[in-house]
């Protein structure tokens, strides 16, 4: 049982997705029960997987045969391989917990729309795509999961079935079709040189020739496109503007998993390369500032939050890539820790803001949220949680955003003080933008009367807030249980590759 945990984590949502249209005939309750079972079971399995990894080290799963006959000269089985170490186990547990919470949130918020069964099929398939990114051990599986997550995200963008949605979904899908073909082209170049697709084998035989650099840049650019950071950030606001809130959060999670696999390939397969690390640092600075400056002039709330999500991803890449550049001293490890820690905090912080905006849209049914005034007068709890999210995302103590950003600032300072200044400046600007939005939507007195907040949505927002405060108050415990093993796993790639 424990040896099959990885494949079960991927297979259960896949099976659940394809059984869901059949179960739809038996009514709403059975369908939601099935969804909750599938997501909950996967979450529990991923926690057990994490405990197993902490206890015994990396888990490698060879699909199709326990003792495969065909083995490469380097001792790797020539099959599809799934691998999980402390980093991917930790990320899968966190992501699956948040996906489960988002499902509970969308129970009531989306209940008025038709095509819900198809929505949840795509939801589960996108979960499969994210998990495949986390566990893949060879390049071709990466390509397949890239396509799965692209197609399902395009379907989720078109959920509201307006003309704008269809156009946005078309642009998204055509962009990612091209991106995935670039990924495949890069993989093909690697295959043409070495004749293998397994990441472990390629890491061993890689010579870092010119063609390898071309392949690396093709693969990295397609993954940066998926992550939606600086050179390829333009799809994000257009896509987030029209998609439902649950789909936005899943899309953020898939961006984070793309960042994960980018650094996995960068560090694990291609080794430490300073030029590429500095290019990533440059991209991260640009995405921090690009996101903020484009958010200032925007007047659609979902677009503003999408731009801020871009700049938050910039902090993660800044942390990890500057950690890679100065991996030879202690601060490098610290910076990688900060970046990985910020991955969790990013999805919690920006997720909370998106969830509250989703509730506001659900209650007021307004097209433009920024025309609402005095919302906090009727809903003080929502206003309080929004303010909590604002403080957390801009790195105010004692919340979780501070805990991770301070690690990034302190360690990046030893690479260049300019980077720290840019980071702090970015946080201040984020605070300024969000405080303005808070004042517009929540302050003042509202003449209108609205319905109460859905209980399930409120409960999810409450859980998010509790998690944020507790991570902010006890960052040491969280770091020592989750982040340290994960950062160790990312840095000591030899264990991951050579199993």
């Amino acid at each position: 049982m424990t040896s099959h945990l990885i494949i079960l984590i991927i297979a259960i949502p896949l099976l659940g997705a394809f059984l869901l249209p059949l179960l739809n005939k038996f009514g709403k309750r059975i369908k939601y029960f099935w969804l909750a079972t599938v997501l909950g079971l996967t979450d529990i399995f991923s926690f057990f997987l994490y405990l197993l990894i902490i206890e015994k080290g990396e888990v490698v799963y060879t699909l199709g045969a326990k003792f495969p006959l065909l083995v490469s000269p380097q001792g790797f089985p020539i099959r599809i391989i799934l691998e999980a170490d402390a980093l991917s186990g930790f990320l899968s547990f966190i992501f699956l917990s948040i996906i489960f919470l988002i499902f509970i949130y969308s129970l009531k918020i989306l209940s008025n729309y038709s095509f819900l069964d198809k929505f949840y099929v795509l939801y589960l398939l996108l979960t499969v795509g994210i998990l495949g990114f986390l566990f893949t051990g060879d390049f071709f599986t990466l390509f397949v999961f890239y396509e799965i997550s692209s197609i399902t995200t395009a379907g989720l963008i078109a959920f509201f079935r307006s003309e704008e949605c269809f156009k946005s979904a078309f642009h998204y899908l055509s962009l990612f079709a091209v991106g995935s073909l670039f990924l495949l082209f890069g993989i093909g170049i690697l295959y043409s040189e070495y004749g293998f697709l397994n990441m472990g084998i390629i890491a061993k035989v890689l010579q870092f020739s010119f063609l390898d650099k071309v392949a690396l840049s093709l693969i990295a650019s397609s993954l940066l496109l998926k992550a939606g950071v600086f050179p390829f950030y333009f799809w994000k606001p257009e896509a987030y503007k029209v998609s439902p809130i649950s789909a936005i959060l899943l899309s953020i999670i898939s961006s984070l998993s793309a960042i994960y696999i980018l650094f996995r390939i960068f560090l694990g397969v291609f080794g430490v390369n300073l030029i590429f690390g500095w290019i990533l640092i440059l991209f991260s600075i640009f995405s921090i500032f690009m996101g903020i400056f484009l958010a200032i002039k925007e007047n659609n709330i979902k677009k503003i939050l999408a731009y801020l999500a871009i700049s938050e991803l910039g902090y993660i890449i800044l942390g990890i890539s500057s950690g890679i550049v100065m991996l030879n001293n202690d601060f490098g490890f610290k910076a990688i820790q900060g970046g990985l820690f910020h991955m969790v905090n990013d999805i919690l912080d920006i997720g909370l803001l998106f969830l509250i905006i989703g509730v506001v849209i659900y209650i007021t049914k307004s097209k433009n949220v920024l025309e609402i005034r005095g919302f906090g007068h009727k809903y003080p709890w929502l206003a309080g949680f929004f303010l909590l999210g604002v403080f957390a995302i801009s790195g105010m103590p004692p919340l979780n955003g501070f805990a991770s950003k301070i690690i990034i600032y302190e360690s990046v300072f030893h690479l260049s003080p300019v980077l720290t200044i840019i980071g702090i400046l970015g946080s201040i600007l984020i605070l300024a933008i969000l405080i303005k939005i808070f004042a517009i939507i929540f302050l003042g007195i509202s003449p209108e009367k609205y319905q109460p907040v859905p209980k399930t949505a409120m409960a999810v927002i409450f859980v998010f807030a509790i998690l944020m405060i507790s991570i902010g108050l006890f960052p040491g415990q969280f770091t020592s249980f989750f982040i340290n093993p994960a950062a160790e796993a990312l840095v000591s790639q030899q264990n991951y590759i050579c199993k």
């Binding site: 079935r161 003309e163 979904a169 055509s174 091209v178 495949l184 093909g188 295959y191 043409s192």
Partner: protein
Amino acid sequence: MINFIFLTVIFLIIIGLFGTMFKKNLIKLAMSINIISNGVNLFLISLGYRQGGIAPIFTNAPNLKMVSPTPQALILTNIVINLAVTAFLLSLSILIYKKEKKL
């Protein structure tokens, strides 16, 4: 010989990229994506080609001179995925056409 194939690959990919960047018509966009996909497929299939090789079935190969089966499996997957993407793009363009009456 092999250079000619790679030139064709690059030619196809550049035509496709040109189409995706400069064409506004949705059907033409879908076609350009297909052209890029065909270029990448041609690249992958040419990797496994051997002069005078036969289909990779062990019982049929007396002197074990076979083309490599792995790229064929890869492009089979890519063709199927590309079919799904094209179908999705075309259905979206039908929906857009219904609402906007132009492509």
